[in-house]
Amino acid sequence: MTRSRYLGWLLAATITLILGCGVAVTIGPAAVSLGQVMSSIGAHLGVATEPVPLLIDSIVWQLRLPRVLTAALVGAGLALSGAVMQSVTRNPLADPYLLGLSSGASVGAVCVVILGIGFFLPAAAFAGALLALVATLSIAKVGGTITPVRAVLAGLAIAQLAGALTSFIIFWAAKGDSYREILNWLLGSVAGATWQSVAIAATAVAVVGTGILLSATRLDAFAFGDTSAASLGINVNRTRWALLGSVALLTGAMVAVSGSIGFVGLILPHLVRGVSGPGHRRLLPLVAVCGALFLVIADTLARTVFDPRELPVGIITAFIGVPVFILLIKRKKSHLWA
């Protein structure tokens, strides 16, 4: 694909994302128009706009906008994490959920929620994600090599263990409302998103995302494996651990604000590679934008389909993600998945 066609795709996806966020804010039990959304945002950013009723303004600014922005940022972060993990581990099935990172982060997060020291939530989620990553990769490593299948199996074991730990902690310590909160952690939800969530997610996506984008060429070099990457001048061990560490950090931040949401990191890179090609300089920006759009749509569905009841968004991503994943498996040449 030519550069201008790629940039066209990126631009179109970005515009769709911005519009999609705007439209998502209008959707909900209380009717809000797109114009009111713009006015409310404008007013808070200090731009002179038509005055908006106070109730509408607080629905837009306090409830829906932080939630939509959090969904967008989390989608971008998870999609980036998945793309990086798939390349660095040379495993088309790698994603933060499947390799146990999300579940590990949940353990860390739930611990601090139970202990009532929510201030440490992002740090605890990061520590949990990193621990789960190291555990998964060390279990999967037999005789110096990690095969995709062993990595997924090890990730499954770690995810199960982490899930059991999380449930154990809940049954031991949770009372009243924390059940609901904790179910949101396990299934993934952005229902409780605040501006603080936006700030955490935005910082993580901006900082780690920039680092990942700057590593695009190094990620390309992993296509033929470690030896090949080394012979192309990459410091393989340092690069791999720096990138996986960054992904753990990003996943930790995502889980801290939204719990463990599956399938975004797994399927988005595969879908986007079909458009952008495998080169990371093109894949990464587009996958971030598309991941954001995907989760904004999924979260809007989560809060409207069974209105007034609300689903954790992780259920929606699974309902969409699993069929897409099955299609991808059927479509791909089988040796890529061996």
């Binding site: 798939q86 090949s228 080394a230 012979s231 001048g233 495998p278 890529l336």
Partner: protein, 262 residues
């Protein structure tokens, strides 16, 4: 680029993989690396490429120690083709060859210009006669085509030293001959691990024969490929005849059963 190996030794978990390997390979020569399975051929290539570091001893290129070069600098001088490498994502032939430009890109995002890189990639593809394959997907190529594209990838790296680990593996006879002919035509110093002694004799200027991590013979094909040495290292009986056209040695093996597996 002249290559000097000075008493290289390498161990993994107390197992000696290479011991005291020394050799001197002149600029522009093609060297065959021979030896039974597990003799240390691949490891020696990795040491020469600077991917693994020798426990003792040193590799130098025109007097510069490979160990002292940053990885990127080493990658601009040395290209390594592994055995049976396959990509984890769907790549076109051009994508694969462009990977060879990575060591030449700027460190951060890599140059966005890319046109120079494409020109180098295309001339590398032309050099190996694979230009018509540029837009094909790697997975759709035959084994011989994949190896040729790998060589184009290595050439796009513009190395002065090319290392090949069993490049003729899984190729049919005509693809084997075409590939080694290609390597001869390139104007680089080349070292390749080979299993087929006859191919080594036909295409290499000099041979290094490894056995159990030691260099047991080195020199021209005539010097290395003698019935005594082959019998010693591989445990097979053979005759050496002269090739009717090239004049290089041709090894004619005696079937193992005729001598009662001696």
């Amino acid at each position: 680029m002249g290559v000097d190996l000075d008493q290289l030794s390498f161990t993994i978990d107390d197992t000696i993989i290479l011991r005291d390997v020394s050799a001197s390979l002149p600029t522009g020569s093609v060297t065959g690396l021979l030896g039974p399975n597990g003799a240390g051929k691949s490891t020696l290539l990795r040491l020469i490429a600077g991917i693994d570091k020798a426990d003792t001893g040193a590799v130098s290129l025109d007097g510069t120690s490979v160990g002292s070069l940053p990885r990127r600098e080493a990658a601009r001088r040395i290209a390594l083709l592994e055995q049976n490498a396959a990509p984890s994502v769907e790549l076109t032939v051009l994508d694969v060859v462009l990977l060879g430009r990575i060591p030449h890109r700027t460190k951060l995002m890599g140059s966005f210009g890319g046109d120079d890189d494409r020109a180098v990639a295309f001339s590398a593809l032309e050099a190996v006669g694979a230009a018509p394959l540029a837009d094909r997907y790697w997975q759709t190529l035959s084994g011989g085509q994949q190896q040729r594209v790998q060589i184009a990838r290595a050439m796009a790296q513009q190395p002065s030293l090319l290392l090949l680990d069993e490049p003729t593996n899984h190729l049919d006879v005509s693809a084997q001959l075409a590939l080694l002919g290609q390597v001869r035509e390139l104007t680089v110093t080349a070292i390749m691990a080979l299993h087929d002694l006859n191919l080594a004799a036909a295409y290499c200027d000099q041979l290094l024969l490894l056995d159990g991590g030691r260099l047991v013979a080195s020199g021209t094909p005539e010097e290395v490929l003698t019935p005594e040495i082959i019998g010693e290292v591989y445990g097979v009986d053979c005759f050496i005849v002269q090739h009717p056209r090239g004049g290089h040695p041709v090894i004619v093996y005696s079937a193992a059963t005729s001598k009662g597996n001696s």
